[in-house]
């Protein structure tokens, strides 16, 4: 996993509010919680069926999903067409509970569970750069649709690569919850890429 600060200063016209099920963690604040780049060392208990790669996958995918939700919640205010809006709503409704699943798994296994803000300072495969986020935020109407679909395909393809990387890591992907979850990501996001490719084709020419 590579991590760097990319978007901590980016101001988007959207925040992750109004999602009662999104936040999973206890207590308040932990001000300046720096995220994974500040060294929550991963310790794998003896006898555990999961590996460091599994933990990193679950932690990293929380950031990955969070950014997808941020992107999806831009659709309405940026004048997305009804089909793109519906797809973005689906991605939002799908990935919010998946974040809960990942956080729950990490908590049950005594691992650090990042929150939904972790996308600000984490870069996983396919995630948008600050410039790409700004580009998306600046687009309206059909330009937004085009940028959204292109960037979300990139984002989803990155998730598929994360799963590939997971299963290619030695002894990883065996723990049942991680195994099921990773396979579900592939099923859902492969199908969504197909839908997005179609929607992209249907947009009027530039």
């Amino acid at each position: 996993m590579t991590t760097k600060r990319v978007a901590s200063t980016l101001v988007l016209s959207i925040v992750l509010i109004g999602a009662p099920s999104l936040a999973r963690s206890q207590g308040g604040g932990m001000k300046g919680m720096p995220g994974m780049d500040m060294g929550h060392e991963i310790v794998i208990p003896k006898g555990a069926l999961y590996t460091k790669a599994d933990v990193e996958f679950m932690q990293g995918m929380i950031a990955h999903h969070s950014q997808a939700i941020v992107m999806s919640r831009m659709a309405e205010s940026h004048g997305a067409n009804p089909q793109v809006l519906k797809l973005s709503n689906k991605i939002d409704q799908s990935q919010v509970p998946e974040i809960r699943i990942m956080q729950g798994w990490l908590e049950r296994n005594n691992q650090f569970a990042p929150d939904t803000s972790s996308w600000h300072h984490t870069t996983m495969s396919g995630m948008l750069t600050t410039a790409q986020l700004e580009e998306l935020d600046a687009a309206k109407g059909v330009d937004f649709d085009r940028a959204f679909l292109r960037l979300m395909i990139q984002h989803h393809a990155g998730a598929l690569k994360m799963v590939d990387d997971l299963f290619n890591a030695p002894l990883a992907g065996q723990e049942v919850d991680v195994n099921v979850f990773a396979n579900d990501v592939v099923t859902a996001q492969t199908t969504e890429i197909g839908i997005m490719q179609r929607l992209l084709k249907q947009l009027p020419p530039k």
Binding site: Q26, M30, L49, A113, D115, F167, Q202, K206
Partner: protein, 628 residues
């Protein structure tokens, strides 16, 4: 010829698809809303069915939360046994007395996801997970040669001591499998093996290969895997060449029906080929998004048909030759339909149900704000012997569930009520639901059983949506997390020999009985109980046949009363005649029934539901013949 053309035209105008979101969640007044949470003491709401017994999960499967020990599917065999899969083995229940099921044995054998089927004394179990080992043991796969992915075969001739006799390895493992009997040799069955994960590396299993080309015959993806099992020598079960039924399917077809609204501001360009910017797509995703395998397939051997639920596609397959299945048709639902999950046929084979496992079964997709067209059933009509599929409607559990309840449509099977298409089905923590899909355009609910969520809702202060909640440091969240995020509910619910059986992921094993109401009569329930099956594997759907019997005739009569299909003076007269005939016996009864059948035939003319009246007449005639 001319008449039939006109008829087709008429049908075409009648079956204009229903509104996009005809269904909406009812108010919180539904008894299923706000049930008390609890694992074993949750609140219960039921309609048209009652809980006969609940058996908790075996203790060995109840040690940690998460998916490690969840129950999975269930199969029925040897007259009175239910074989309940678990991600870590299986349980055999003797259900001779449904009020008191007896645990015959619990077998510990790590095998996610453990979907079972039973043929005689052979139990077949699907193995997919990366941590499954040849020796069934815990601790995961340390050496790839120990990895077991495919079909395990157990001998359960002694239900108290099942024996593992063979592991059949397949390239993609087995998420689910379906038994197809050989149409010519009763000593042979085929297992169609489904699962959407990637192929194992060749270094782990020779001959396995991942690739992007669906037509490449060496590619393990894009094929339905087939295992041939000689029943007298199950140890010789072996993988056959797979069926390449996915070639040429595009994962991104045009939306034709039930689409999201077309953008009226900027109508899409006509023709194919897409926008100029398309080829310059910087995402450059070179990915075939058509289905590379199915999640689940349901066979209807009596009709030589297979309904395959394969990610974006509903695929109909001719299985006349089970070794060489042939694709007949494929239908997509591009209404952001995520993953075709499970299929089921109506008994006449003219309709299929396709379910959509939005959220993979672990997400709460039945909340009040959840998208209605996702995560439910869709009803598809079949014509031209399966060559044409037409999507008719959606059905979603008509009661909003909480954020604590993983919920989506899942496995089920028909309830054998003559004259109606009833499907009982598990919806995970959405409970068990009975859908009437007799009218493909207007499916509706006629019964349910639901418990409150396993976990209580989180405290209000942690449920607030904020972007920067405090992150959980290692070791701090674990205690609280134990009582949250539990995945549970009904994996599948099936009617078998008078009872409904439901495999509950986290809690255990439920048995229910139907109870009469205005929506389901005592006669219909009695008629259903007349259908007996020694063995029942729901994914290999049996043709339902009813004996000649009074409850069968009265089921049709009750339906005609309910739908006002025949005038009430006539239905009352028929009911009296049936009562009188039942008091008679032998030739006298036969004569009375034959006379009645003639009268009912005449009644059919001018009846609103004349087809049903005619069917009733023929059932009366059949009963007459049986009375002699």
């Amino acid at each position: 010829m001319h008449r039939s053309c006109k008829l087709i035209g008429l049908i075409a105008t009648v079956v204009v698809p229903a509104l996009l979101s005809a269904q909406s969640y009812p108010s919180a007044a539904d008894p299923r809303s706000n049930l008390k949470p609890g694992r074993l003491d949750a609140g219960i709401a039921a309609s048209n069915m009652r809980l006969v017994s609940f058996s908790p999960k075996p203790a060995v499967f109840d040690t940690v939360r998460g998916l490690t020990f969840i129950n999975s599917d269930v199969a029925f065999g040897n007259g009175h046994y239910a074989y309940q899969g678990n991600f870590a083995g299986f349980t055999i229940w003797d259900v001779s007395n449904p009020a008191k099921p007896v645990m015959a044995s619990v077998v510990q054998c790590i095998t996610s996801q453990g979907d079972p089927t039973i043929i005689g004394n052979l139990l077949f179990v699907s193995a997919e997970g990366a941590g499954n080992r040849n020796d069934c043991g815990k601790g995961g796969v340390q050496d790839p040669k120990d990895h077991m992915a495919g079909i395990r075969i157990f001998d359960v001739s002694n239900p108290r001591a099942p024996k593992l006799i063979k592991n059949v390895q397949t390239c993609k493992g087995s998420h689910t499998h379906t038994v197809i009997p050989s149409p010519t040799n009763p000593k042979i069955v085929y297992l169609y093996v489904s699962g959407q994960q990637a192929a194992r590396p060749e270094t782990e299993l020779a001959g396995c290969k991942n690739g992007d080309d669906p037509a490449d015959s060496t590619n393990s993806l894009y094929q339905l895997d087939i295992v041939k099992v000689p029943l007298d020598h199950p140890e010789q079960a072996a993988v056959m060449p797979g069926a390449r039924i996915f070639t040429g399917l595009d994962g991104s077809p045009e939306c034709k029906t039930f689409c999201a609204p077309v953008d009226t501001r900027r109508p899409p360009r006509g023709g194919r080929g897409g926008a100029p910017g398309d080829s310059a797509n910087p995402a450059a995703v070179r990915l075939n998004t058509g289905p590379r395998n199915c999640h689940d397939v349901t066979a209807y051997p009596a009709m030589h048909l297979l309904a395959a639920a394969c990610s974006s596609h509903s695929i109909m397959v001719d299985i006349s030759n089970p070794e060489k299945p042939v694709r007949l048709s494929a239908l997509t639902d591009t209404n952001n339909f995520q993953g075709r999950h499970t299929a089921g046929f109506s008994n006449d084979g003219k309709k299929i149900i396709m379910t959509d496992e939005w959220g993979g079964g672990t997400g709460p997709m039945c909340q009040a704000n959840s998208i209605m067209e996702l995560g439910g059933n869709t009803i598809i009509s079949l014509s031209q012997n399966g060559k044409k599929q037409t999507q008719r409607s959606y059905f979603k559990l008509p009661a909003a569930q909480s954020a604590e309840e993983n919920c989506v449509s899942h496995n089920g099977g028909l309830i054998p009520v003559p004259g109606r298409d009833l499907y009982v089905q598990g919806w995970y923590q959405g409970g068990v639901d009975i859908m009437d899909f007799t009218d493909a355009n207007h499916p509706s609910e006629i019964g349910y059983f639901d418990r409150g969520s396993i976990d209580p809702p989180p405290p209000a202060d942690t449920a607030r949506g904020v972007e920067l909640p405090g992150a959980v440091a290692p070791g701090r969240g674990a205690a609280a997390a134990r009582s949250r995020g539990t995945i549970g509910g009904s994996w599948g619910a099936y009617y078998w020999n008078g009872m409904i059986y439901s495999s509950e992921l986290d809690r255990g094993f439920d048995i229910y009985e139907l109870t009469p109401s205005t929506r389901l009569s005592a006669n219909e329930i009695a008629a259903a109980k007349l259908v007996r099956m020694k063995e029942y594997n729901p994914q290999s759907q049996p043709k339902l046949v009813w004996p000649a019997a009074f409850p069968v005739v009265r089921s049709y009569l009750d339906q005609l009363v309910r739908n006002d299909g025949l005038s009430s003076d006539k239905t009352s007269a028929i009911a009296k005649s049936l009562d009188a005939a039942e008091k008679q016996s032998g030739a006298a009864r036969a004569a009375s029934l034959t006379k009645l059948a003639g009268e009912v035939d005449a009644d059919a003319k001018g009846a609103k539901d004349s087809a049903r009246v005619k069917t009733m007449a023929s059932e009366i005639r059949r009963l007459a013949a049986a009375s002699k």
